[in-house]
């Protein structure tokens, strides 16, 4: 400022269908840091933004779920590369949002980058871990293979604005689903900036769609939306009534629901395991006749 240069404020926007629109409603709300200092105005999405995001996610589903697991892994790794390049920005945003020291925020961003790499490695391995040939008592070859659930709504955790967000979004798309993400209501800036990273990471538009706004307002139409196949309620963990309502609404078209876990017990830096990967996978099992078994026990 000493050289008299005007500061350039960033307009935070949504990330829907590979584009950066403002909210259809034209609304914004103020986001502050942990001490209450104003940081930015961000779009306050409406249910129509949520609807548009679902349309974009559905459109992207065929291509993304049909891409080879190897290709999906490469793209997820690319996200890690891009995130690494913008490390400084994310360290600042995470520090401001979560009230962390710079060094603590830096280790959070490092963990978030590593999380992308972790899930990038899993894309072409999860199939072998949860699928495979099943032993059956009959002349059949019996194979199980995991397939993505479809369009998944993800309520990102309210507290952990980047590491928590990556930890819930990456497994959903690593498995081949497309995601509509509702960012943390009070700490949405790292999520909206992550949209910019995803847009430059070869990730097809619509695979991840990021909305900022009031969680309850956005979650309700998404939970009852007939074209959403699954919902992860992590972001509703601190509001048991809301979580219950959403679960009831989601039951209507038999959405797969991932129930919220207690906030206190969640350590996002811990080894994530595979349970988030398998939460939105459907097992397809194929019985293939092998013909009559000969005396040797095999017809081949």
């Amino acid at each position: 400022m000493s050289d008299g240069r005007l500061s350039v404020f960033k307009t935070y926007k949504l990330y829907v269908g590979g584009k950066f629109p403002r909210s259809e409603s034209g609304r914004v709300y103020e986001v502050t840091d942990s001490k209450g200092k104003w940081l930015a105005n961000v779009p306050q999405s409406s249910r129509k933004d949520a609807r548009d995001a679902v349309v974009a996610a559905r459109k992207a589903f065929g291509g993304w779920s049909g891409a080879t697991a190897y290709n999906r892994g490469q793209i997820l790794y690319r996200v890690a590369e891009m995130l690494e390049g913008r490390r400084e920005q994310f360290v600042r945003e995470v520090a401001e949002a979560e009230g962390l020291s710079k060094s603590k925020a830096a280790s959070v961003v490092d963990a978030a980058i590593d999380r992308w790499v972790w899930y990038a490695g899993w894309t072409d391995k999860i199939g072998q871990v949860v699928g495979g040939a099943n032993p059956v008592a009959g002349p059949y070859l019996n194979l199980s293979t995991p397939e993505p659930t479809g369009v998944v709504t993800v309520l990102a955790p309210q507290e952990s604005s980047l590491l928590g967000l990556v930890s819930v979004v990456a497994p959903v798309i690593a498995a081949g689903n497309t995601a509509v993400v509702v960012a943390s209501a009070d700490r949405p800036l790292p999520a909206l900036s992550l949209g910019e990273v995803l847009a430059t990471s070869d990730l097809p538009g619509g695979v991840v769609n990021i909305l900022s706004g009031r969680t309850a307002e956005l979650a309700a139409p998404l939970a009852s939306h007939q074209d959403v196949n699954g919902i992860d309620l992590t972001g509703a963990a601190d509001d048991a009534d809301l979580a219950k309502e959403l679960e009831a609404a989601a039951a209507d078209n038999l959405k797969r629901v991932r129930r919220p876990q207690p906030v206190d017990g969640t350590d996002w830096s811990a080894d994530p395991g595979t349970h988030r990967l398998t939460a939105f996978l459907e097992t397809k099992t194929v019985w293939h006749p092998t013909g009559a078994l000969g005396a040797s026990g095999s017809s081949y």
Binding site: V54, R58, P221, H225, Q226, D252
Partner: protein, 328 residues
């Protein structure tokens, strides 16, 4: 507001009680004089007016009314080389009962098929009140001899089609042989008998708005029951602007002759939002008299699914998805 046509000149024919435009179609040069005497179209004004009418916000009960009206105006269309009797029957079933989960959903106006499928469609729709429209006259190019085109029309009428969708000879129109186009429409009309005749101008191939206005008047003078924008087979199909222009033409034609002609935009109308924009155009331009499926139609196939999804959203409060409508 300026009307689009000059007042009819008093003529010997009108004094005898004939059509006020009998002179205009007496010869090729007279017809050309008449059509080129129509006022030029203000392109910027037309597009601005069409765009501004597209910004109306139609919500809740008005939207529910508009959706039901739009469904009842659809000519559910399948015009593919791969059409089979089975596909036509499936489409007919959908026309009669668009949303099997909600029997209050209105029927579509008609099913639109190729002439060889007309008989199948008639059999599938008998007694339902849904009409059968058949394209004819060597659709979509219209590049065939007149007797071939007329035979095509006779076939469709004999198969029981209630409506015939003909294409004009764009080559003749663009080279200025208006009387040839006129006589062809008159000849087709004569073959139609009681079937209503829709005349397709293929506005995307007419190049200018002036040509669309001329073609509309030419079609109406020749006895068209409907003027229709496009075949759906070229890059540019129905747009709000060219439909607005045709709506002005039918409005002015009724003012001067007392004869009401219908309008059918076809091709490229896929969403409920688009359809409602067209209904606003109809109401604000031609008027309420045209807000009926006897006088206004949508030539569409995928539009119906979007209307049904919006209808489900209004009745249940939940957003619907493509899993809950049929795939055609």
């Amino acid at each position: 507001m300026p009307t689009t046509a000059p007042p009819p000149k008093p003529s010997a024919a009108s004094e005898r009680g004939g059509s006020p435009f009998a002179d205009a179609t007496a010869s090729d040069s007279a017809l050309r004089r008449f059509l080129h005497g129509l006022p030029g179209v203000d392109t910027v004004g037309l597009e601005a007016r069409a765009a501004s009418l597209g910004t109306r916000s139609v919500k809740t009960t008005a939207k529910a009314y508009a959706i039901d009206l739009a469904i009842s105006m659809i000519d559910l269309t399948t015009l593919e080389g791969a059409d089979t009797p089975g596909k036509v029957r499936a489409l007919a079933a959908k026309a009669v009962n668009p949303d099997p989960l909600d029997r209050t959903t209105p029927r579509t106006a008609a099913v639109c098929v190729y002439p060889d499928m007309a008989r199948t469609a008639v059999a599938a729709l008998s007694g339902s009140g849904v009409k059968v429209a058949s394209v004819a006259t060597a659709f979509p190019a219209g590049r065939a001899a007149l007797d071939v085109k007329l035979a095509d029309v006779r076939d469709a009428v004999a198969a029981g089609a209630d409506e015939i969708d003909m294409v004009i000879d764009r080559g003749a129109f663009l080279s200025g042989r208006y009387l040839k186009v006129y006589e062809e429409i008159v000849a087709v009309k004569a073959e139609c008998g009681s079937a209503r005749l829709k005349v397709i101008f293929e506005t995307g191939e007419l190049s200018t708005y002036d040509n669309i206005r001329r073609a509309s008047w030419l079609g109406m003078l020749a006895g068209a029951d409907f003027v229709k924008t496009s075949t759906g087979k070229v890059a540019t199909n129905a747009t709000p602007a060219n439909t607005l222009l045709m709506l002005e033409a039918v409005r002015d034609f009724r003012e001067q002759t007392g004869v009401q002609v219908g309008v059918k935009p076809a091709g490229g109308i896929r969403t409920t939002k688009d359809a409602i924009k067209f209904l606003v155009l109809v109401n604000e331009t031609a008027g309420e008299d045209w807000l009926d499926n006897h006088w206004f139609r949508f030539g569409a196939s995928s539009l119906l699914n979007d209307l049904l999804m919006q209808r489900q959203k209004l009745s249940t409060g939940r957003y619907s998805g493509p899993d809950y409508v049929t795939v055609d």
